[in-house]
Structures are given as C-alpha cells and as structure tokens.
C-alpha cells in the first residue's frame, strides 16, 4: 500500500517507511473490523466467529507492531 509522500524532513529509512505503511494498514484494518463487529447481527451465525477472529488478529498485530517499533528504536540507541 504505497500511500503518502515522504516527509520533507528527509527520506525515511526503508524500515521506518515499512513501519509507517504497516501502521496505516493496521489503522484501516482495525477500523473496518470494528464496523463489521458493530454489524455482527447482520451476519449469519456461522460467520460470526470469523468476524471475531479478524478483530482478535488485528489487536494482536497491533500489539506486536508496537513491540517491533520499540525494538527498532532501542537498536538505534
């Protein structure tokens, strides 16, 4: 998902750019998952576990993303 221009402050490193795009992707994923969850009643009973699965996986990815970013920042110093 190539989305935005690079900051005028200078080029990102490749890693930082990837993290940025990952954050944008997660942002969209979590919000879309939330919309689906809010309409869970509109889905057949058999599909509802998958909705929950998307939300759960999104939360996990979000947590790991934060952890990954912290690791990268710690390596810098």
């Amino acid at each position: 998902m190539e989305k935005k221009h690079i900051s005028s402050r200078g080029a990102f490193s490749e890693v930082e750019h990837s993290i940025h795009e990952l954050r944008n992707g997660m942002n969209s994923l979590l919000m879309n998952a939330a919309v689906l969850s809010s309409r869970a009643d509109d889905f057949p009973e058999s599909l509802r576990p998958f909705l929950e699965g998307i939300s759960r996986a999104g939360q996990l990815c979000s947590k790991e993303l934060t952890h990954l970013f912290a690791l990268i920042e710690s390596r810098k110093t």
Binding site: K3, K4, H5, S7, R9, F12, E16, I19, H20, E21, R23, N24, M26, N27, S28, L29, L30, M31, N32, A33, A34, V35, S38, S62, L65, F69
Partner: protein
C-alpha cells in the same frame, strides 16, 4: 392533560471532521461515527480540509499528520481549538511532531493504529461537549440537565400554579432547594419564598421560628416575632429535612396545614396564612414513617404531589453538561477562558458521585482554583481526600483512602451533633462507652487529632446538659 413538551429543544447533531487520504480507514471511521449519531465531513488533503473548514464548526476533528499536499499540522491555524476537540494521528511517531503538538495545545496526539476503544472514547467525549453546548442543555431556573431532568421540569411547570403541597424526595446534593425555588417562581405567588432546614434549627427554637412568638412568651422573647409561616404568607414555605422535625412539632404543623391558621407561641389568636408548602427529605418517606420519624397523617398532607429527584449517577449524560456549566459560570464571574483538559469529562462521567451535583460543583470549583493555566484538570485522588464526599444531618460518606482515624473522628463528631451533644446517647449509638467518647474528645483537644469539622464544633463543646 397531555405532558408539556413545548419547552424541550431538540439536541443538535454533533459534527466530526476526518482528514485522511486512506479511503479504507476514512469510510470505516465515518461509519462508526455515524452509528454514534455524528454528522461527518471528510477531506483527503490539506487544501480540501481548509476548504471544508470555511464557516464550519466541528465538535471533533481527526487529522492525519501526513497528507499528500503537506502536514495536518497546517490545519491547526484554521481550526477553532477552543471549540473543537482536535486529535492528530500519525503513522510516524517522531518526538518532534509530538512535541510540536503539545506546544500547540492540541487536544490529543495518537500514534496509528487508532484503537477502536480509544476512538469511541473520543466520540463520546466530543458528544458530551457537544450536548453541553447545545440548546437542550438548558439552565432552566438553575436546574441544569438534559432529558433525564425533563420530567421533573415538566412536573414543576404543571403543579406549580396549583394549590397542592409538594414533597421532594432525593439524595443529598441533588438540588431539592432549586426545585422548591423553581416551584415558587413558576407559581406566580406574590409573597416570598422562605426556606428552612428543619434539621439545622435547634428543636427548642423550631416552634417559635416556624410559628412565631409573642413578647414575653418565654425567656429571651423580648419582642413579638413573626414566624416563617407568616413571613411566607402569600408565598412559599420550603421545609427541608422534614423528617428531622420533632414529632410534637409535626402535630402543630399538621394543624396549621388543616386550619390554614397559625398561632404564635404564647399567643391566643389564630392568624390566617396563605402559604404554599414544599417540603423535602433525603430519606425514603415510608421508611421514615416506619422508623417513627415522620407522622403518617402529616406525610399524606405534605405529599399531595410527590416529586422524586434522580441522583447524578442515574443521569450520566448530564455530568459533562453540569461541569461545563459550572466552569462557564466561574469563567464569567472571574473573566477567564479556562477549559477542561482532555479526558477530564470522560473521567468525570465514570465517577459515581455519591455527593451528587453538589459534589461535582465543589470539585470543579477546587479544580478551577488550583489550575495553573487555562487548562483545568481534575484529580480525584488529591481533591481533599480527607473530606467526606457527602454529608447531611444524619449520614456521612467517605472516600476510599480516608484513614480509619479520620473516619472515627468524623463519625464521633457527627454522632454527637446528631444527639445534640448527649454523650450517653452517642456512646450507645456508637457501641462504645461514654468514657471512650470523653477520652477521644480529650485526645483531639490535646492536639493529637486535627480540628473537628466546622459543623460539628458545637457538638464537641462541653454541654452542661449532657
């Protein structure tokens, strides 16, 4: 007669601006906000956003920092930051942008991904502010509240012009005197409103205060005195804490209400009075009757129209409205432009408010006084944790974290005050000996304890009769 709805004003729709070029995110975020009753405006670039901001006002603005034609930060100059809860969202959590946001007093700064819980919290916070400033946030006769208070207002308007007695039942701090005042003002009665706290007047004085006395009728009666009933002639008499009135006086009160005449203490003549009676209690009336605190025949006479006031915890939507109103009054009085820091309203909404509106008002006042700048924060932990959070004649509520010593000291003085400083009765009620009470009082007076509560000072004094 149909319930009056003519005074109700529809609540305006709250508005949200989303500035982001990620279509997938924008549509989803807009959908969630729409489900929460927001009107949405979307912009995908700085230029588009500036265009959308012309002449518009938003309750909440969600702005991505990295936009195709520049930084979302550029939009801050175009926003009314005082009226718009502004949230910057960034996928690049650099220290510089965070610091700049803080310097610009931006409401909030969030690193992507935006968690749904945080998003719904932001929407709820904006909604509270929005409703707090909407026309429905009426300050009708000092009674601030939304839909939860509307039945009370409607009832007051309907009953005020009628010649019926009103009994207001509600917890301490719910605004019973405000209701009595509203009833009087809406009644069109030409006389005065006279408010009396039946629990605060010493029982031996209450009769002469209520019904008046003739000169020389008792020691100290140096002149004739018109009682509260006569003072409220053609007006309204508000008797608060009616269940604290001694039973023998309740008999007199019943007689006054039945005959519409009052006889002064030591007097012979029955003086006609035209008084509208509004009484109030924070006890459950039936329980007060069962406990022998309230005569049943008087209860029926007082409660021709019962009116129940909801506690603040049952009207959570009004908390932000009330907080904003109290702050606006302070700003107006002192010529300031202070506002609440982010998340304050959300934190206020989560509190239980055992002291009801009075507790909220006191908290806002303290936070206003203690604020260093224009941003007001509220810290429940440091808001005089030693002080009881609700107190009236016969009950006291403590905050978690109050020391046992402090609870003991407060409870002792409160109980003494309740039993008119009769130490034997207080000791019996507390389940301790009178000697223990004397020892405690002696300890406090020696300075080991702290000063007694101001309203209990009299109770702590040595009373020859006790």
């Amino acid at each position: 007669m149909k319930p009056s709805t003519s005074h109700a004003t529809p609540i305006r729709e709250c508005t949200l601006l989303i500035v982001d070029d990620d279509v997938g995110f924008v549509h989803a975020a807009a959908e969630i906000a729409r489900q929460n009753g927001f009107e949405i405006t979307i912009a995908a670039s700085v230029a588009q956003a500036i265009n959308r901001l012309q002449g518009a006002r938003f309750d909440l603005a969600l702005i991505d920092l990295t936009l195709p034609d520049g930084s979302g930060m550029e939009l801050l100059d175009h926003l009314d930051l005082a009226g718009t809860q502004t949230v910057l969202i960034s996928g690049q959590p650099t220290l510089e942008s965070a610091l700049q946001a803080v310097r610009l007093k931006v409401v909030d700064y969030i690193v992507k991904p935006l968690q749904i819980e945080r998003y719904t919290e932001l929407l709820a916070d904006a909604q509270r502010r929005c409703h707090a400033t909407s026309p429905a946030a009426s300050d009708w006769r000092g009674m601030v509240g939304g839909t939860a208070l509307q039945p009370v207002r409607d009832a007051i308007r309907r009953v005020a012009p009628l010649e019926v007695s009103i009994l207001i039942v509600g917890e301490s701090g719910t605004g019973k005197e405000l209701v009595a005042r509203a009833v009087h003002e809406e009644s069109g009665r030409s006389g005065a409103l006279v408010a009396v706290n039946s629990g605060a007047v010493p029982p031996e004085l209450l009769a002469s205060q209520l019904f008046g006395h003739e000169k020389g009728s008792f020691t100290g009666a140096h002149s004739r005195h018109e009682g509260f009933f006569e003072q409220a002639n053609k007006g309204t008499l508000f008797l608060d804490e009616i269940t604290e009135m001694p039973l023998h006086l309740q008999v007199h009160l019943l007689r006054v209400l039945e005959t519409k005449t009052v006889r002064r203490v030591g007097g012979q003549a029955d003086i006609p009075v035209d008084v509208r009676l509004v009484s109030a209690t924070n006890r459950l009336p039936q329980q007060a009757i069962d406990e022998g605190r309230l005569r049943e025949d008087l209860f029926y006479r007082l409660s021709e129209f019962p009116l129940s006031l909801p506690p603040l915890r049952d009207r959570p939507d009004d908390i932000a409205m009330l907080a904003e109103t109290f702050l606006a009054r302070l700003n107006q009085r002192y010529g300031t432009r202070r506002s609440f820091a982010p998340t304050v309203l959300a934190r206020l909404a989560r509190h239980r408010w055992p002291g009801n509106v009075r507790e909220l008002r006191n908290l806002i006042q303290r936070a206003y006084i203690l604020a260093d700048g224009n941003s007001i924060d509220v810290d429940f932990e440091t808001q005089h944790p030693r002080e009881p959070i609700a107190e009236d004649m016969h009950s006291i509520t403590f905050r978690i974290g109050t020391t046992l010593d402090e609870v003991e000291r407060r409870l002792l003085f409160k109980t003494l005050a309740y039993f008119d400083n009769n130490k034997l009765k207080a000791a019996e009620a507390l389940g301790i000996s009178a000697k223990t009470i004397y020892n405690r009082l002696s300890r406090y007076q020696d300075g080991e304890g702290i000063e007694p509560p101001t309203d209990a000072l009299d109770a702590g004094k040595q009373n020859p009769g006790s």
